[in-house]
């Protein structure tokens, strides 16, 4: 699935190019693998991606970045000192400074009521800011709102649709609303890529929840935006549809669209985002490259399944900070992945010298969810 905002040129060629690059990676890792990797569908691409990821884990090497990923350094949205206080005195945003880089997928994480939707709504013109400035590709959202808004597509959290209109009518309306001349070929492509083409004449109220969400994406894309805001795009959708949605977002990014998404699902941010911003109580707590964040704040644990249960930590292991778990059946060692030495070799040596035998060994890495929970807890 591939969406391009300006046109759909080179659709097939581009897709094949990406897969050829994947193929090279695949063969580089699987020396003995003779299996053909000439895959042509998005689902197949996912499967391949997964294989690479699993292989990287086995080899202990980090997952390779998307080969076609450009360096995202040029800011397309600048938020400076933005604040919003609602009528009742509730301060939803507190002096937010944020830059969104062109072409990236930026995930905005935060607990309920953190200010995610207020921030998105302010940038899109739905909420009046109380202070500060926002510019979209250099256009101020207040003084030059037309130029700024033309670049943005918004997919709201709620399934707000014109229930009685047909899919085609509603996306044609959306395109016109943003001042774009009718372009049947473009809208047809959007609907086909979102697997909505056979539903184009159906009233929206007859569609399923997942289809309605696709309609909202089609509406947001109807005017060929360069920036797409997705407010909780996978809220309330099943796992399969969520994965489909991720594919859609990835395809959009490949076509050059900058994507900002808010989500409750940390897994979603972990899966898709290039950078992650964490917002809590109206303040940006942290913005970082997702991989950096995982590397710097992530912890790794070595879990040893013991032959004989332990009642307490033996004195010779006291310096390692190991913990006993599972009624003495497990020994857990937490270590820093960024340090020069992990201390695993020494620990294993000490275990051997102490006569403590283990029957299995596992390592786990803290997820973005753990990092998120820690950060939010620390700022509360």
């Amino acid at each position: 699935m591939f969406l391009q905002t300006s046109s759909y040129r080179g659709l097939l060629e581009h897709k094949q190019e990406i897969f050829m690059i994947y193929e090279r990676f695949f063969h580089a890792y699987y020396v003995g693998c003779k299996k053909s990797c000439a895959l042509t569908s998005c689902g197949a691409k996912s499967a391949l991606h997964l294989k690479l990821e699993n292989h990287s884990k086995k080899r202990g090497t980090p997952m390779q970045k998307h080969p076609s990923m450009p360096p995202y350094t040029q800011p397309i949205i600048r938020v400076s000192n933005l604040s919003k206080t609602y009528g009742g005195g509730f301060q939803a945003l507190k002096n937010i400074d944020l830059e969104i880089r062109q072409g990236e997928i930026f995930a905005l994480l935060g607990p309920n009521g953190a200010g995610k939707t207020t921030l998105i709504s302010t940038i899109c013109g739905l909420v009046n800011p109380s202070g500060g400035q926002v510019s979209v590709d250099g256009h101020d959202i207040i003084t030059d709102f037309r130029a700024a808004r033309k670049m943005i597509g918004l997919v709201p959290q709620e399934l707000a649709t014109d229930a009685f209109s047909s899919v085609w009518t509603t996306i044609s309306f959306s395109r016109g609303l943003f001042g774009k001349k009718p372009d049947r070929a473009y809208l047809e492509k959007v609907l086909k890529d979102l697997t909505l083409w056979d539903k184009k004449d159906n009233p929206i109220m007859t569609l399923s929840g997942g289809m309605k969400r696709r309609v909202l994406i089609a509406k947001a894309l109807a005017h060929e935006p360069r920036i797409l805001f997705l407010d909780e795009p996978t809220a309330g959708v099943d796992v399969e549809l969520r994965r489909d949605m991720w594919e859609i977002v990835r395809s959009l990014r490949s076509s050059g669209v900058t994507i900002i998404l808010t989500t409750h699902y940390i897994e979603e941010a972990q899966e898709m985002a290039d950078r992650v911003g964490i917002i809590n109580k109206g303040e940006i707590v942290l913005v970082d490259d997702k991989d950096n964040l995982m590397r710097q704040l992530g912890r790794k644990q070595l879990i040893l399944d013991l032959h004989q249960p332990l009642d307490s930590i033996p004195p010779e292991l006291a310096d390692y900070g190991v913990e006993i778990a599972d009624n003495g059946q497990q020994l857990i060692y937490t270590y820093d992945t960024t340090g020069e030495r992990t201390g695993i070799t020494k620990l294993l040596q000490a275990l051997s010298e102490s006569g403590i035998r283990f029957q299995d060994l596992n390592t786990t890495k803290s997820s973005l969810e753990d990092i998120f929970v820690d950060l939010v807890k620390n700022t509360t």
Binding site: P156, A160, T161, G179, K180
Partner: protein, 253 residues
């Protein structure tokens, strides 16, 4: 000026009109026919001429006004309230459109519907009474100004209303009584003097009086006053809408 957006909103609203044709057009025409049958033919035959005009014919301008006022408000208020209710208003508010363009789209469509309705009633009436229009230009002028002004009022009500009850309150409890008491079915000369004075505070009286003058050259108040009143009312509505978009009242938080 984003004319493409204005056209999109306008056509979208007109498409809704097409989908609700029965409710929007046929039902007021049917009710108007009933008025003519009951008040024009049955009861009207026992009422003397008013100002030299048969009662059935005298009714026509008032009936058109009654429908124009209620339908303009109803069309325009529902047109903007429905996107608010379903949440689809987010798209209009985040689009590169100014308040003027939004108003032109929504109010333009509502006014067009009412205008079509007014013409339909006129045509329906011609089946019951001989139509006579003394000043066609002024008749058209009053017709257009009324549908625009009351569509603007409907737009304001649609933004103000936060539930369906409020949406109905103004047309039912304010506009309909004002139209009935504003000389739709009688000349204020027929009222006791005290009530004549009270009626002069009813703004709808001026609209009906001016509109009736354009048909039969008979009026309760002078045409100049009628014209001034409708222009004042139009100005007030525009001022209110300007304030709504400036402050984001009920549209933006």
């Amino acid at each position: 000026m984003n004319f493409t957006a204005v056209k999109s909103i306008y056509l979208f609203e007109m498409a809704r009109f097409g989908r609700t044709l029965w409710q929007s057009l046929i039902s007021p025409v049917v009710s108007t026919s009933l008025y003519f049958v009951v008040f024009g033919a049955a009861i009207g035959s026992r009422i003397d001429e008013i100002g030299g005009v048969q009662y059935g014919a005298f009714l026509l301008p008032g009936l058109i006004m009654l429908n124009l006022l209620t339908q303009s408000i109803s069309n325009a208020s529902f047109g903007i309230y429905f996107p608010k209710f379903t949440g689809t208003i987010y798209e209009v508010m985040s689009a590169p459109v100014s308040f003027l363009e939004i108003v032109l789209g929504y109010v333009g469509a509502a006014a067009t519907k009412s205008l079509i309705l007014g013409i339909m009633i006129l045509l329906t009436a011609s089946l019951f009474i001989p139509i006579q229009i003394a000043h066609p230009f002024w008749m058209a002028f009053f017709l257009v100004m009324t549908v625009i002004t009351f569509s603007l009022l409907g737009f304001i009500i649609g933004i103000w209303a936060d539930n369906f009850e409020k949406l109905q309150i103004v047309p039912l409890l304010v506009i309909t009584p004002l139209v009935f008491l504003g000389g739709s079915f009688y000349s204020i000369d027929m009222l006791p003097e005290t009530w004549q004075t009270v009626t002069l505070f009813n703004p709808v009286l001026y609209l009906i009086s001016g509109f009736r003058w354009s048909f039969y050259e008979i009026s309760d108040v002078s045409v100049g006053v009628s014209l001034t009143m409708i222009m004042v009312f139009l100005g007030l509505c525009l001022l209110t809408i300007w304030w709504i978009f400036k402050t984001g009242y009920r549209l933006k938080t």
